[in-house]
């Protein structure tokens, strides 16, 4: 079989040239494939970068919006406006002489504002984003292999 192929090539030398050309074109095609792949990944990376920039801006805008809404709530629940609303609803300011006191056993009284945890009371929340979303491909592979081989943490 091998000798028959050799003979065929000797009888038609253009086949050798075609083979060379085919190899060259295959190499070119491979090169273009790689370039295409590179351009595609680059494009995606650039898009992701621009999206990240937009998300940074969105985060800032949201932060401002939240602060603004908090202030708006405070504005519509301010002393003057709440008193006006109470009057509209038919409530009257109590006269100190009309107040009736009542002893409520165990009632500790109104508690002052607690806006955050006290020092030492902090339970750190679990990270929301898994490490596989933030680590590099190499780190991910390395950790995965280490996990499989059971050497993680040794």
């Amino acid at each position: 079989m091998t000798s028959r192929i050799m003979q065929a090539y000797q009888q038609a030398p253009w086949r050798i040239k075609f083979r060379g050309l085919g190899g060259f074109l295959t190499a070119i095609a491979g090169l273009f494939l790689m370039i295409g792949l590179f351009l595609s990944i680059s494009g995606q990376a650039a898009t992701a970068g621009l999206e990240l920039r937009d998300m940074n801006d969105q985060r800032e805008a949201l932060r401002q919006e939240i602060a603004s809404m908090r202030t708006n709530i405070a504005d519509i629940t301010s002393v003057v406006k709440m008193h006006a609303r109470a009057e509209e609803l038919g409530y009257k300011q109590v006269s100190p002489a009309d107040v009736t006191f009542m002893y409520v056993p165990g009632y500790p009284g109104r508690q002052t504002a607690v806006l955050a945890a006290a020092p030492g009371d902090l339970n750190m929340p679990e990270p929301v984003v898994k490490p596989s979303y933030t680590e590099s491909l190499w780190d991910w592979m390395f950790h995965g292999l280490a996990l499989v081989s059971g050497t993680s943490g040794q």
């Binding site: 253009w14 040239k17 050309l21 060259f24 680059s42 990376a45 650039a46 898009t47 992701a48 970068g49 621009l50 990240l52 920039r53 940074n56 805008a61 932060r63 401002q64 919006e65 602060a67 603004s68 908090r70 202030t71 708006n72 709530i73 405070a74 504005d75 629940t77 301010s78 002393v79 003057v80 109590v94 100190p96 002489a97 107040v99 006191f101 002893y103 056993p105 009284g109 109104r110 002052t112 504002a113 607690v114 806006l115 955050a116 945890a117 006290a118 020092p119 902090l122």
Partner: protein, 596 residues
């Protein structure tokens, strides 16, 4: 000569390959040549990065129950892209209708930007979201007719740019403005808080700005670090008490024709300021009106920034010192002849009358200058000065509010001192204090002899953790027994006097004060500072209230103008603080209602 087809193809391939090599060689040249690298570096330096300073959100301020007193809100800068097909007429007319501005001002700004070749011009800043929405609505209407703005005869608002940014906002407007101070947001990034909490805690509220070099290259984007906001503050102020005290004080100042008014409500057990009201005060959202409202900067918060001779309310400290030293008891007799000569200086009572034989309750009831001067002489200069130092008279209270004023106490050995100095100081002349300083001293009488540091911040919230500020004992100028004795003496004195400060259902201790105002030519006639300090319930004080009316016109006497003001405030405070009447408390104690 004829080339075979394959040779022609090979030749063409060679030419194209050479062309490719040339292109690649040039690419390598661009990447590596010094000239090109220099150009690339220059472009990178100029356009590749931007330096961003991220200012953290300024910390919020809350009252003791968590009601927001100072926060931040979004406003907008509206500008024009000068490279767009803008229509200056449409812009000017729209702004005139929405912002009530002079259209000529808009024309001027746009024209100036055009002449100077600016790419952008800011037309309006601090626009509210409602105003921005109004402009956007008009813009949308114009856009449906003239989408690109190329039609010059049709109106268009093309090229409008809206940039949001944050400003300080005080949702309660003028409430506690003297305590909060203000943040002049129009000064931009160089702004600092002034007066009050905004001034005192400016660094904490402001947080730490971060400067970043951010790449413009989309391949080099990364998440910007989160800037931690400034610390939030929870005040000791009770919004409801503050609002009520301000309302009563404003009415009193107006009714009595006083220049200004001050009222402070404090918990004597902790030193927490529950309300600190002054009249007049500003709306902190319009901080630029401060210079019109206050002619002197110290008047922004008279409770801490203004010192004055307190007059007869000072007698409670002299009497407390004498009781603590064992010089007098409430029953100690005194023969008031109406005049006392101290080193050739004659001291008279406020009404130039002689009251004859009285005890110490009578001395306080009739507010006898002669009696108190005699007590000071019995104490002696050294002991008197020691007690005044123990009460921190002449020293700042160090309350955590910006701009506290104080005047050092003139004691024995100081220039110009004589025994007559001490004698007049005993009834509140020749000594000056800021209201908060006298309040701190008097709080010892209402708190078993322990003087608590007055403070306005209850907690600081930073990085998600709330740190509470502990109450501090500044000193114990008198014993608990002496404090109880002087409280009982003052309560009896008010009852015997049938003072206008009394409140039905509650036993209160207190003292009125009428102080003539010193001038370079001596004390003025007819112009006084009227004050009252009192606390209650007498057997277990839960509040101490200090009021001061500056130069009231309806009456010069503290007993006529300041005592009713104190009463009106206490009437509301006992309800807002859930302090039951004496009858009810006795009922609980005797019948033991707690076990029912």
């Amino acid at each position: 000569m004829k080339f075979p087809a394959l040779a022609r193809t090979a030749f063409l391939g060679l030419i194209l390959s050479l062309l490719g090599v040339v292109v690649i060689a040039q690419m390598i040249n661009i990447q590596t040549s010094a000239v090109h690298r220099e150009l690339s570096d220059m472009a990178d330096e100029k356009y590749g990065y931007e330096v961003k300073t991220i200012y953290p959100e300024r910390g919020s301020i809350y009252d003791r129950w968590g009601n927001l007193l100072a926060g931040n809100k979004t406003v907008y800068e509206i500008g024009l892209d000068m490279g767009s097909n803008y229509h200056v007429n449409s812009v000017a007319e729209t702004f005139a209708s929405v912002f009530k501005t002079d259209p000529r001002a808009i024309y001027g700004k746009v024209e100036n930007a055009r002449i100077h070749g600016y790419s952008y011009v800011a037309l309006v800043d601090y626009a509210l979201p409602e105003q921005v929405n109004a402009v956007k609505k008009i813009q949308s209407q114009f856009s449906s007719v003239n989408p690109s703005g190329r039609e010059r005869s049709a109106p268009s608002l093309i090229g409008m740019l809206y940039s949001p940014h944050m400003v300080r906002s005080y949702p309660e407007n003028s409430l506690a403005a003297n305590v909060l101070g203000f943040f002049p947001y129009k000064e931009g990034s160089s702004a600092h808080g002034y007066y009050g909490v905004e001034g005192q805690y400016d660094d904490l509220l402001a947080g730490q700005p971060i400067q970043l070099t951010v790449s413009r290259n989309p391949y080099q984007q990364s998440e910007l670090p989160t800037t931690p906001p400034g610390s939030d503050l929870v005040l000791t102020i009770d919004r409801e008490i503050q609002a009520k005290v301000e309302q009563i004080l404003d009415e009193s100042v107006k009714h009595n024709g006083a220049l200004s008014g001050t009222a402070i409500v404090e918990d004597p057990e902790t030193g927490e300021i529950l309300a600190m009201a002054t009249s007049p005060r500003i709306d902190a959202n319009q901080y630029w009106t401060a210079s019109e409202v206050f002619k002197q900067p110290t008047h922004f918060n008279t409770a801490v920034g203004t010192i004055y001779e307190p007059g007869s309310i000072f007698k409670i400290l002299t009497m407390a010192s004498a009781i603590d030293k064992g010089i007098v008891t409430p029953e100690t007799p005194f023969l008031d002849t109406g005049v006392l000569n101290v080193d050739g200086y004659e001291i008279y009572n406020w009404d130039d009358q002689a009251y004859g034989p009285v005890d110490m309750i009578g001395c306080m009831q009739h507010s006898l200058n002669v009696c108190l001067a005699w007590i000071a002489l019995q104490l002696g200069p050294k002991t008197f000065d020691e007690y005044m130092a123990a009460f921190h008279i002449g020293s700042p209270s160090n309350i955590d509010l910006a701009g506290e004023a104080y005047l050092p106490f003139r004691g024995q050995g100081d220039p110009g001192w004589s025994k007559s100095t001490m004698a007049t100081q005993s009834f509140g002349q020749g000594v000056a204090v800021a209201p908060v300083q006298f309040l701190m001293a008097a709080s010892a009488l209402a708190n078993d002899g322990k003087m608590m540091a007055p403070h306005i911040v209850r907690s600081i919230v930073r990085d998600g953790v709330q740190y509470n500020v502990n109450s501090q004992v500044v000193g114990s100028p008198i014993s608990g027994k002496s404090a109880a004795t002087i409280t009982e003496l003052l309560a009896t004195s008010l009852e015997v006097e049938s003072s206008k400060a009394l409140v039905d259902g509650y036993r209160l201790a207190g003292k009125t004060g009428t102080a003539e105002i010193p001038t370079p030519y001596g004390y003025t006639m007819g112009r006084t500072n009227a004050s009252f300090i009192g606390w209650g319930p007498a057997e277990d004080p839960k509040f101490i209230v200090y009021v001061w009316l500056e130069q009231p016109k309806s009456s010069i006497w503290g007993s006529v103008v300041a005592a009713p003001l104190f009463r009106d405030i206490v009437r509301e405070v006992v309800v807002l603080m859930d302090i039951p009447t004496e009858d009810f408390r006795q009922k609980v104690a005797t019948q033991d209602l707690s076990k029912q």
